[in-house]
């Protein structure tokens, strides 16, 4: 199995350093924050982590190609509202949003959600790869468009009463333990396995690390990037399914603010903003870490708006660390067979 390749303990340690941080932070909160380690609270943490986790898978994949996806929360918003609109019984009273009256079965609605997510990802991919538009602004604008459509459909009002057939993904608990956590965990294991063992995983890493060589080696970078965005869109919709199933209520502001959290989680977990490096395993650690912090802050009874602010701070810190990583790695320029390392000025 090893082919004479020794296990690099140092590398192993550094790559998994983030988990050590997770354990440390957890212990700190367990001691300092009252009610942190109660079963009910742990479940809360896991619930938040499960939805965030799904979104982070998508973001991490996009990041690996060297791009951002800021539209995920828009997908979440639109797909949840669309789902309710299609499924729920139209209200006879005045309050609340008006459903379509179609009352479609979840068997139809869930695939529609997922397809809408993928469609959004596809459109973004086209704009970025073919029209060469800036990935940041495009996904940001897309988020706005998606949320706008969501608001249009819902009229800014809430809709409640999603059918049980729909809610099982987000709402089912076995002995109080939500299965959505298990689902997310499973997804991570599967995605991690696929990234390492599948052709697509190779493609992703190659395109992110060196687009030209990837092209010359037979890959299609444009297709790869578009696929990454399609997956991210899919994850946005999936997360929507999960979240809606748990809350049983849709509102157009759902998921607001989660986008940057996904970037932070991925970056903290070692997915490089430059592309080509990192694993979803690391990102998962980032998810857990952020969920722990989020939860602890809530428990300390801090103003919920502190949380927003602190999230932003965490992102800055993550960025800082990321910037330092590349500070000491010299930029490499290539010149016709010779590697010329550019001096750090």
């Amino acid at each position: 199995m090893n082919n004479g390749h020794k296990i690099d303990w140092v590398k192993l340690f550094l790559d998994n350093f983030i988990w050590i941080i997770v354990v440390l932070v957890f212990t700190y909160f367990a001691v300092q924050v009252p009610n942190f380690v109660t079963p009910g609270n742990i479940v809360n943490i896991l619930l938040h982590a499960s939805v965030l986790g799904v979104l982070v898978i998508g973001q991490a994949i996009v990041l690996m190609t060297g791009n951002f996806d800021l539209s995920a929360e828009g997908v979440l918003s639109l797909t949840t509202i669309l789902a309710m609109w299609l499924m729920v019984e139209p209200r006879t009273d005045a309050g609340g949003a008006q459903a379509s009256g179609l009352m479609l079965s979840p068997y139809i609605v869930i695939p529609i959600m997922l397809m809408v997510g993928m469609l959004s990802g596809w459109l973004i991919g086209i704009m970025i790869t073919r029209l060469k538009m800036n990935n940041f602004i495009v996904t940001l604008a897309m988020q706005l468009v998606l949320r706008g459509i969501a608001m249009l459909i819902s009229g800014g009002q809430i809709m409640t009463g999603s059918p049980p057939l729909f809610n099982w993904m987000g709402g089912t608990r076995i002995n109080g333990f939500p299965i959505s956590v298990g689902v997310t965990l499973l997804m991570y294991l599967v995605v991690n396995y696929l990234l390492n063992q599948s052709k697509f995983g190779r493609e992703l890493r190659a395109v992110g690390a060196n687009t030209d060589a990837a092209h010359a080696s037979g890959f299609d970078p444009q297709k790869t990037v578009t696929r990454a965005y399609i997956i991210s869109g899919f994850m946005g919709a999936f997360a929507g399914w999960m979240l809606l199933g748990r809350l049983e209520t849709s509102i157009s502001t759902l998921g607001k603010g989660m986008t940057l959290e996904t970037v932070a989680a991925a970056v903290i977990g070692g997915v490089s903003l430059q592309g080509g490096l990192g694993s979803v395993g690391g990102a998962f650690a980032g998810v857990i870490l952020l969920s722990l912090i989020d939860n602890a802050l809530n428990l300390i009874d801090i103003d919920p708006f502190w949380v927003q602010g602190i999230r932003g701070l965490i992102i800055l810190v993550a960025l800082l660390i990321e910037a330092q990583k590349f500070r000491y790695k010299p930029k490499v320029i290539h010149e016709n067979g010779n590697v010329i390392v550019e001096k750090q000025v």
Binding site: L131, M133, L260, V263, G312, L313, L316, L319, L320
Partner: protein, 356 residues
């Protein structure tokens, strides 16, 4: 001749925004009688004066090829701070009831501080400007909520409200009188000042140099980092004035002030010709972008289009503007390539011009 056609096209392209503005005015006036009232037409810039300040700030940073996505939260924060120190306790403030002058000074300091932090993080710590300013967007908005004890602070002194809500003069008209808002004139004035700075000062031209080609600018002896820090300071200042205008117009400050502005700010600047790639565009063009956006906003409202359509259309406008920007760049590369190819004699059978 080719160059005549090119010159004509360039002329159209450069001033496209004004064509759009005029078309917008004409179309909406035709579609709706309430649009073409003097009251409404004056209102257009009045309503978007605060936005206009942010557009100025954004244009400054964009010209250097940087983004400042934190401006809407900065506006909210400064407005809130101003409101808190001004309003009496009963009206939601801290009860300090400082003089308006002091309040304005404090607001400006807050704005400058934000700009200082942004500039520092981006130039000294070398962090990515997009992410930093988005993170600041979140942090500052969080701060706004944290510092507001209740929901709203209101009822400010008239002198404070003057810039945002006051009237410069009134013209008797029909049954009442038509008030010309200070804000309208002020924002026009601000754009003119900004234009003078960017066009007629060394600093302004250095901004364009930095945005056009960072290394070439540095080679010319321009201190790029200094310039960039300054534009972020200016952006912060604009946030403060924007906050002043917003708070003055509404005579109150809520934590939600400014939320959502980030998109029209981008869109207005880009549509007005300020390129995302830097080094291009003028303040006057940005003013055109602002006017176009305001006309659309006012027009769609008057036509009773659902506010949610308007939301979605903002995103679409941004996409359209960015797409146009990208196409422009592509066009230029095509032109450069065909020029290079036309100078050779080799391979004349192959008539295609292919860019990578």
């Amino acid at each position: 001749m080719k160059t005549k056609k090119n010159k004509f096209l360039t002329l159209i392209f450069d001033n496209l925004i004004w064509l759009l503005v005029i078309s917008g005015l004409i179309i909406f006036s035709a579609l709706s009688p309430s649009f073409r009232t003097p009251f409404n037409l004056i209102n257009i810039l009045y309503r978007s004066a605060a936005l206009g300040m942010l557009v100025i700030g954004q244009a400054f940073t964009m010209i250097t090829a940087n983004f400042d996505l934190s401006s809407e939260s900065g506006l909210g924060l400064t407005a809130m701070v101003g409101g808190l120190v001004l309003a009496s306790e009963v009206n939601g403030g801290l009860g300090l009831e400082v003089s308006p002058v002091l309040a304005i000074l404090i607001m400006i300091m807050v704005g400058l501080l934000i700009g200082l932090i942004n500039g520092f993080l981006i130039t000294r710590l070398r962090m990515n400007n997009l992410i930093v300013t988005i993170a600041m967007l979140m942090i500052l908005r969080g701060l706004v909520y944290i510092i507001s004890p209740g929901a709203t602070a209101s009822f400010f002194p008239k002198s404070f409200n003057w810039l945002g809500g006051g009237a410069l003069f009134k013209i008797p008209m029909g049954k009442g009188s038509l008030a010309f808002p200070v804000a309208t004139f002020f924002i026009l004035f601000a754009f003119v000042v900004a234009h003078i700075i960017t066009r007629y000062t060394q600093f302004g031209r250095n901004m364009y140099a930095v945005g056009s080609n960072l290394s070439a600018a540095k080679d010319s002896g321009i201190e790029a980092d200094k310039i960039i820090r300054r534009v972020y300071l200016i952006s912060g200042f604009c946030m403060a004035i924007g906050g002043l205008i917003a708070a003055g117009r509404l005579d109150s400050a809520t934590p939600r002030v400014g939320a959502g502005m980030i998109f029209p700010v981008q869109a207005a600047a880009v549509v007005g010709g300020v390129s995302l790639f830097g080094g291009r565009g003028t303040m006057i063009g940005a003013l055109g972008g602002l006017m176009l956006w305001s006309i659309l906003d006012a027009g769609l409202s008057i036509l009773k289009v659902s506010p949610f359509w308007i939301e979605a259309s903002r995103g679409l406008l941004l996409l359209f503007a960015v797409g146009l920007d990208a196409v422009k760049v592509k066009q230029m590369r095509q032109r450069a390539l065909s020029e290079a190819l036309s100078s050779t004699e080799i391979g004349l059978e192959d008539t295609r011009i292919v860019t990578d």
